[in-house]
Amino acid sequence: MIRFNDVSFAYEDSADFAVRNINLHIDRGEFVGIIGPSGAGKSTLLSMINGVIPHFYKGDYYGEVLVCGKDTVESTCGELSRHVGSVFQDPEAQIVSTVVEDEIAFGLENLNIPAGEIEARIDEALRMTGIEHLRHESTASLSGGQKQRVTIAAAVALRPEILVLDEPTSQLDPAGSRQVFRTLKRLNREHGITILIVEQKVMLLSEFCSRLMVMDRGQIIMDGTTRQVLEHNDRLLELGTNCPRVVTLTKLLKDASLWSGGYPVDVNEAETVVRKILEGANDQYPEPVLPLQ
């Protein structure tokens, strides 16, 4: 579905590569979280998938990026937008209409979708993102979490196979952030949409993503299932990336030889770990996993 072959990119006027020697393969239906310190190249990586690079930002471009079999350099942004929906940090900067349903219609009209079908697509997008009740609301009156779900609905209305999101919850309160992640999970599970999300909230990534990628200085330095990457919690902290607190706790319990199983990805699993330790049970859930090479 997405393939990077030996990709490097340096922005115009910059001596350094923003991403270097990226080789990457993402299958249909994956839910991929991307973490790493500021300046690691996370946003650049997403911009190479939706075509913003090289079509809006120029620079030195090496290698090739294939999205749904199409080379992103040879496709226009318009063509790519049929495959890839994009959501950014600040919903305010993305929303252009005053009423929710108009916001969703906006992209469809730009693609010359017939009026009758636009109606059906709006229904579908609102249903898929669980915001039917907001249809006639004024976009200005919505909470941050609601606004961000409207931008997701607007992206989903174009029926993309892939959604890329760049820190979509950074302006949101905890409830709004969780709403956004629940919406993404639903789009991923029920509709098979492939999701790539850059996010600093490692706790939410661990809970929701099936795969985690860690970037640093333009490179992907870890890539595996969420549980595999969490095995390397020491390394994450060294890099200046946060770790879920339940993982830090489990690490301390392992150091005290109280636990030899795997790392929990959320509070439910952590509860299981703690109960097993308190009960003195030997069975191990979550199962230990092999660390990355």
Partner: protein
Amino acid sequence: MISIRNLCYRYNKKAPLVLDNISLEIGRGEFVAIIGQNGAGKTTLLKQLNGLLKPTSGSVTINGLDTATTRTSVLARHIGFLFQNPDHQIFCSTVYDEIRFGLTNTGCRPEQADERIRRISGLLGLDGILTRNPFTLSKGERQRVALASVLALETDILVLDEPTTGQDYRECVEIMEIVKDLNRQGKTIIMVSHDMEVVVDYCKRTIVLHNGRVLEDDDTGIVLRKSESLGLAGLEPPQIIQLALRFGPLFRDVTSPEDMARAIISCTVTGGARV
């Protein structure tokens, strides 16, 4: 030091109350978090503290000065304010000038200003970039420039509106460690944050705002255990407290992974805590 009595505020006559009968006392040297969902009135409350907004009714007093009758420039000598977005407050073309701007305005002599700028830029790791244009810096660096220009004024009270938003974890810890030191040196810190881990790690007292009212106000460890109030306010306890709450009274005082690990180890040593 800060006394808020029956504070009500609406943005105009027809608008609903954004702050609804708030009364609070905040003493010298406190480290207070204000939490709540988007739209709860957190930023509006902060703006009442430095006189950017004046009460519709009730009163706000800072070091004995009533904000309704005191000029904002006078209040600025008592209370420093860091906005959520550093780009809303940075406008000079070098880091040095940006930090100096407020100092000159409050009548600081040039040699004294220079000495303070050197000291504060050292504290915040900005000494190597004093001649740079702030807009060529990273977001984290710009946030530190904005913080430096606030610290240069040497006010007793610092008000920080989401100082860690948009920062990566390392930048977040760097900023919070600086703020923690300032608090140790006696400064009063009042901070809005959406990050419950920052709140639990750094703030001693937590106030939950909901629909313009104070929903909870107590020690952070107590407030962050009130799942019901937090849920109402669009918040959730930090992970370790969520986990601790599932074991009834067993981990009553636990707030950090280290606390929790110690408590579990002592349970297994004393043998057989029944849960």
